[in-house]
Symmetry: C2
Subunit: 195 residues, 2 copies
DNA sequence: GACCGTAGCACTAACGGTTAGCTTTTTGAA
DNA sequence: TTCAAAAAGCTAACCGTTAGTGCTACGGTC
C-alpha cells in the first residue's frame, strides 16, 4: 500500500524512458508513418501492450513532454509576482516556450510533426486542453474578475499566439505583434483594466 | 469526356446521400462509437470501399456539410459591401453560423460530437483549415493592408469566436463580448484602422 | 445500333493502431 | 516465507482504412 517506494517506480520510469527514446529515434531515422507500433515495441524490447500502458497512443510518444507545457502556462498565471499584470507574464512564458521549440535541436522533431497529419491533429486537440486549463487559471485569479467568456477567449488567443509564432518566419516579431493585439483585446474586457 | 451529364451524376449523388443519411441515423440511434463502418455500409447496402470513395473518413460522415462553412466565411470577406468594415461583416456571418448550429434541430448532432473524442479532434483540424482560408481571404482584401501575422491572427480569433460562442450558455451574448475583443485587437494592427 | 473508355461499385484480403482477456514475473510489505 | 498487487507479457481479436482486381452500367463516338 501507501507509496510504492523506490525500485518499482524507477524501473517503471526507466521502461517508459526507453520506449520514448527508442520511438523518437526510430521516427526521426525512418519517418513517423513508416515506423509501426510493433517496430517500436520490438526495438525497445517490450510488448505492445506494455507500450500502450505507458502511452495512450502512437502520437503521445512524440508529445511526451507536453504536460510541462500546460503546467508552465498555468504557473505563469498563478505564480506570477503580486500585482504583475496578466498579459505580460503570459507573453514572457509564451516567448520562452516558442524559443524552446524553435531551437535548432528541436527543429527535426517539429518538421516531422508538421509533415504528419496525424501528429498535427493530435497537437490541435492538445491545444484545446491547454486553452481550457489556462482559462481556468485565469478565471481563478483573485486579482482579476473576468467573465467566463473573457477568460476562455483570452486563453484561446494566447494558445493561438504560441502556434502562430512557432510557424512564423520571425517568431519574436510575430509574438510581439500578436501580443499587442491580445493586450488590446484584454483591455476592453474590463473598464478597470488588468490588476 | 466533358461533363458526364445526367443519370450518372444523379446516381452518384443518390448513393452519397443514402450513405450519409443512413450513417447519421445510425449514429444518432445507437451512438457514434458503437456503430461501425461495416454497419453503416451494410445498412446503406453499399460496399465498404464504396463508402470510402464518397467520404474520406468515418468522421467526415458527420461533418458532411462543412464545406459550406469555409465558403461562407471567405465569402463574408470577399463579398461584403464596398467600404464595409471587416470585423462587423465577420461578426454577422459568425452569428448566423452559430445560430444555425445551436438550433434545436442540430442539437443532437452537436451533443454527439461533443461526446466523441474522435469527432472533436476532427472538428479541431477542420478549424485550422478554416482559419487558414479565412486568413488568405483577409490578406487578399484590396481595401486592407494587414501583415501576414495580423491576418492569420484575426482569422484564428474569429474561428475561436465561433467555437466559444457555440459552447456558451448564452451564445449571442458571448459572441458580442468576444467580438468586442476582436475589434480591439484588429484596431491596433494598423494606425489607420479598418477600411 | 455496335463499340469503347471510364466511372462507379463490389469483393477479398490485408495493414496498422488499439484493446480485451488472461498468465507470468517482479516487487514491497507482512 | 508468503502474499497481494503492480508491471509486463502473449494471444487474438476489433475497427478504420487501403490496395488490388474485376464487373457493370453509362455516355460519347463511329
Amino acid at each position: 500500500m501507501t507509496v510504492p517506494s523506490g525500485r518499482r517506480e524507477r524501473k517503471k520510469a526507466a521502461t517508459r524512458q526507453k520506449i520514448s527514446d527508442t520511438a523518437l529515434r526510430l521516427f526521426l531515422e525512418r519517418g513517423y508513418d513508416t515506423v509501426g507500433i510493433r517496430d517500436v515495441a520490438a526495438e525497445a524490447d517490450v510488448a505492445v501492450t506494455t507500450l500502450f500502458s505507458h502511452f495512450a497512443s502512437k502520437e503521445a510518444l512524440v508529445f511526451e513532454r507536453d504536460e510541462d507545457f500546460e503546467q508552465r502556462l498555468t504557473q505563469a498565471v498563478t505564480g506570477r509576482a503580486p500585482h504583475e499584470p496578466l498579459i505580460p507574464a503570459l507573453r514572457r512564458e509564451i516567448r520562452s516556450l516558442v524559443r524552446h521549440c524553435t531551437a535548432d535541436s528541436a527543429a527535426p522533431i517539429w518538421r516531422m510533426i508538421d509533415e504528419s497529419p496525424a501528429l498535427r491533429k493530435y497537437e490541435e486537440s492538445m491545444r484545446l486542453r491547454h486553452a481550457e486549463s489556462l482559462a481556468t487559471a485565469i478565471a481563478a485569479d483573485p486579482g482579476l474578475s473576468p467573465t467566463t467568456t473573457a477568460s476562455r477567449t483570452i486563453a484561446r488567443f494566447v494558445i493561438d499566439a504560441h502556434s502562430l509564432a512557432r510557424e512564423a518566419a520571425d517568431p519574436d516579431a510575430a509574438l510581439d505583434e500578436i501580443f499587442r493585439m491580445i493586450e488590446a483585446a484584454w483591455e476592453v474586457t474590463g473598464p478597470s483594466g488588468p490588476a
